[in-house]
Symmetry: D3
Subunit: 245 residues, 6 copies
Amino acid sequence: MHLADATWTDVDDCDTDLALLPVGSTEQHGPHAPLGTDTLTATAVADAAAEAYDEEVVVAPAIPVGVAEEHRQFTGTLWVSPETFRDYVRETVQSLAHHGFDRVVVVNGHGGNVDALREVTGTISRHDDAYAVAFTWFESVGEHSSDMGHGGPLETAMLRHLAPELVQEDRLDEAREGAADGWGEWVSRVNLAHDSAEFSENGVVGDPAEGDTERGEELLTLATASLVKLLDAVAKRDVRRPDHR
Amino acid sequence: MHLADATWTDVDDCDTDLALLPVGSTEQHGPHAPLGTDTLTATAVADAAAEAYDEEVVVAPAIPVGVAEEHRQFTGTLWVSPETFRDYVRETVQSLAHHGFDRVVVVNGHGGNVDALREVTGTISRHDDAYAVAFTWFESVGEHSSDMGHGGPLETAMLRHLAPELVQEDRLDEAREGAADGWGEWVSRVNLAHDSAEFSENGVVGDPAEGDTERGEELLTLATASLVKLLDAVAKRDVRRPDHR
Amino acid sequence: MHLADATWTDVDDCDTDLALLPVGSTEQHGPHAPLGTDTLTATAVADAAAEAYDEEVVVAPAIPVGVAEEHRQFTGTLWVSPETFRDYVRETVQSLAHHGFDRVVVVNGHGGNVDALREVTGTISRHDDAYAVAFTWFESVGEHSSDMGHGGPLETAMLRHLAPELVQEDRLDEAREGAADGWGEWVSRVNLAHDSAEFSENGVVGDPAEGDTERGEELLTLATASLVKLLDAVAKRDVRRPDHR
Amino acid sequence: MHLADATWTDVDDCDTDLALLPVGSTEQHGPHAPLGTDTLTATAVADAAAEAYDEEVVVAPAIPVGVAEEHRQFTGTLWVSPETFRDYVRETVQSLAHHGFDRVVVVNGHGGNVDALREVTGTISRHDDAYAVAFTWFESVGEHSSDMGHGGPLETAMLRHLAPELVQEDRLDEAREGAADGWGEWVSRVNLAHDSAEFSENGVVGDPAEGDTERGEELLTLATASLVKLLDAVAKRDVRRPDHR
Amino acid sequence: MHLADATWTDVDDCDTDLALLPVGSTEQHGPHAPLGTDTLTATAVADAAAEAYDEEVVVAPAIPVGVAEEHRQFTGTLWVSPETFRDYVRETVQSLAHHGFDRVVVVNGHGGNVDALREVTGTISRHDDAYAVAFTWFESVGEHSSDMGHGGPLETAMLRHLAPELVQEDRLDEAREGAADGWGEWVSRVNLAHDSAEFSENGVVGDPAEGDTERGEELLTLATASLVKLLDAVAKRDVRRPDHR
Amino acid sequence: MHLADATWTDVDDCDTDLALLPVGSTEQHGPHAPLGTDTLTATAVADAAAEAYDEEVVVAPAIPVGVAEEHRQFTGTLWVSPETFRDYVRETVQSLAHHGFDRVVVVNGHGGNVDALREVTGTISRHDDAYAVAFTWFESVGEHSSDMGHGGPLETAMLRHLAPELVQEDRLDEAREGAADGWGEWVSRVNLAHDSAEFSENGVVGDPAEGDTERGEELLTLATASLVKLLDAVAKRDVRRPDHR
């Protein structure tokens, strides 16, 4: 059940303690893909999983601005500080829990949100009346995951499947030419680059041409199955904190 | 130009310093109207005005959770604290301004956000490298404005015009019966009620039956015209702070 | 009973749960009226109501610096940020409530404090062990209220009645000449001005000549009666938060 | 020049960079002395020094609630957290400095404020466009200073001189009987007591009978002279921060 | 040069802009290894690298309490919130940079600090007058890294090499028996456990018996070489932020 | 029992509610004494007292960076803001109390930490599940205390006794020549200097030559005895907060 579309009485009739909270970002994804890519993909995965899961689950509206300062050299990228992002997510989850939806999976579409979400779901689970974990769809698509990049194969594939009209197909060559091979500049397993503009000309990492519609469909299927499996585990888990040893 | 749908290179080509930031809420709107009403209406007004305005203006994605703790007794209502809301809006505006979109109109669909938006747009305009004001659509629809309520005539009318499938027409009688006549409980011009559940049985204020599709269309037209006029004034205004006297 | 003048043992003997907390501002009021106008008027109204009310009520000392950055272009204006102001008011109210004075009316004399006080009294009433509302005297003086301005008819009248030695009568012409007719610069019901210096030469809004001593006396009588009525309503109100629906 | 009583144009004509900011507290002072003692004495010393100093100096209104949680067991004591107190003082001083009054002496009447004021004046002087120091009157009255107590000889003497009607003379025996000899409970130069109720029955420390009117007059004279001397030193001091060595 | 042991004049003579800031934790490491393991190892690696690097580098004292709430069920574990940890690290780095040591490598010995350090070094590099990265020694020891665990092979090996007297050899069987095979409880690449007590009986992960002295020596050699290489890269890097595209 | 060296199982067997938390600073101590002086001395006193006390007491690792911005003109001085310092200490104490070590003596070696520690131990004792006080060793060494200075007699003596290799004996003349006689620049009992560089050429206050090894030994003996006495008082004290009067 999508909160945005339902009335409060509908939600009140809903017999579940499970909620999905999609979280995206509005940030550059190269010259060929839209700034809203991460919100769009996170929403699609959350929607598909809520549909596929055989028990009821409420779906909150997607949070559209995340931790993306690393892309600020590229026009149109929006961001808030990690602290503000964590506060916004935490308080939204607390309000879900206030109504009994106290097992929450944050469905994330942006790599830059991962650390902040791990931290805030830990804080919520230890200190608030709720249990939360964060699921980042592209980490859970089998061997595809190693191909992630940025505006690269996976995201381009998902967009072609979900919203082909938003992919600027005529700029793919340009996208590929200005792309970096990998994320970051690494020495001794430390990334020396704090901004994506330090290693990518146009913001792209990886080859978007390697992400066709079929791959997009497969990615959505894989991510959905992973999230459904996670929902099931979250529904059944004993989420009480362990006793002091 | 909608940021979510555009590439960073498209946005970079955009020759304007004007931006619209829609802000809504996810909160109860009675048994007949969806929790997402405020986000939906704010987005519609922002979109229509961006379309109607004869210069370019960028439109950010809508912020979906606002200051709505006053509705927390009704299931599904989401909220963040006013402080977190202001931080989230302020930093989003700062990131818009970082790219040169430094004249920002926040387009608001929720009464509970008004105070916080007035404060934060003042703070932004005085202390950041941007100028911002907040426009709340239902305050700027001529004589209709006095009819606002909550889930009442105006919002129901807008929904019927914009998204009739989200209005539960068969619950209108129920909505009307549990509704309050006016917002709050007033003594000496002070509202003694801090929560809407103190004065409304089902969260509704005003009679939703008084908001038909035609009225919705008129409201959208009026709000759009007001916002276009405001955009024009913001575009031309000298936004420097006055000198010390 | 005024806290500042009483001993703790006197206050301990006081059988009430009602408290008044006057809140003013130190800010420009034109060339003819003192910076302390708002503190002075708020204190006078609080004192008169405590005197007139037929049950005991404790009166805290007035908070003299509020949310007044909008007047910062005029020398001598003092201000704190809205956040600091809310913290200061909230913690002061919490300490009142610690002693059992947990029904608190904030008596306000400054328009710039209104939003912040509405927010903080809501926060207190929902999250602390106290109930609080804010009363702004010039909003509750009948038809006079529409005449408010700034350093205009109402405030000048009150000062002439309460502290005529602080009104610079010989500068009234000057005050009137540099005054604005109304507060702000409005387009589509949005105030484009964030600072009073954007629309007023000397900080005055409205004609101070329209506020004579008799009007001041009437204003004090009206405001006092309104506040007494409010105290009575607050004393009798069920201030528990409603149950979840 | 007292800001509260002056118009902004008067203050604008004022040729000085010196300001006094009185800071008090509203807290128990035993069964014989009023809760407002510290605000009253701080204000009196600031007023007397501004009068006695031969150059102009602006005087801000007194801040009436300070760091006094240590007295919370005694009814009527008000307090804010040290953090909120520092913010309130710091921002008030910043607004003074905004108008050119950037050499500020905080005139303090309460022992519990001392640490917080030392910290915040250091922060202001290092990081803001102002220089500030804190003067606590009873630390600067020669050999009397060792007699301070709480509601004891010095404060009772000052009150008898400044506002004898606020001293409950008929409760002096009671005050003396419940008084502690000294402040705190000390082991190895560490005070084990965090609240005054741990060592004083009625909140008094020291013998109030040892503070007659004459002593009060002398104290005011001594404190005023000390503050005038300090004002002169502050006026002449090179307040730039030293260079890095 | 170790700051703790040097005089300010020695440090002033030091011709470098490089600094190392060791960061550890005080937290359970099973029944056989000390709570201070992470501080000890981080310090050892920082010391060895400063020694081995052929240019001068200053070494700050180790920060001993980090982000370790996940181990709070085990007695003696100390922790601060991630926010306080970031503030403490950030301000310490700012003070290093104040003296010209503005290329800082944080040398970390604790997995729980990794996310917070990545965030805060990004914040520092973007917003402060310094460049910082975080190096976690056990991520940079070649193929050993996959063996990390907790109180497992790598840490036990390092301790045996660096401080054998702190390893309780007679409890190794006990340590092994209560150990978990891997860190966390994973479903769909999401760790459902927020506390280590959810998956480990005694806090250990991995087999401590697989970490002998020789391995410890090799680990220190590898980590030191990695850190020296990183220091060199940091010394030579253009650390200016990229221009807006 | 030193937490850093013990396993969690050892600490779990420890039957005490007493803990010592050493707190130092890394800051200039003149041309002859190391930046780590305050951490070193605080640690030594804590260790000696834990040894001498006849009941068990746990000793946390020393916090090495404190409130020392006043020394920032001298190279190598590290500091955090008082607010961050208080947070770091408070949360560390809270984690000690989480395991039952809820009577905590902070053992301090730096004058600049005194105010912040008094505040935070009060906050902890009133609002957290712990009781805490702060002991500053050089305040509790009998008549020696009046000789404190900075890098002067007492600290130099302690260093010569505890770590003679860290004292640059050949720079003592230089140290003495650039030293100030006393701390600060005082008018009317107010210190006008916010930074030590305002009154000391080389950061030293007092004559380091007056601190020989024997004096150092005596200081350690005196401080240890004072701390043992304090531990005993803390162990036996009724630490519940008093009832409201």
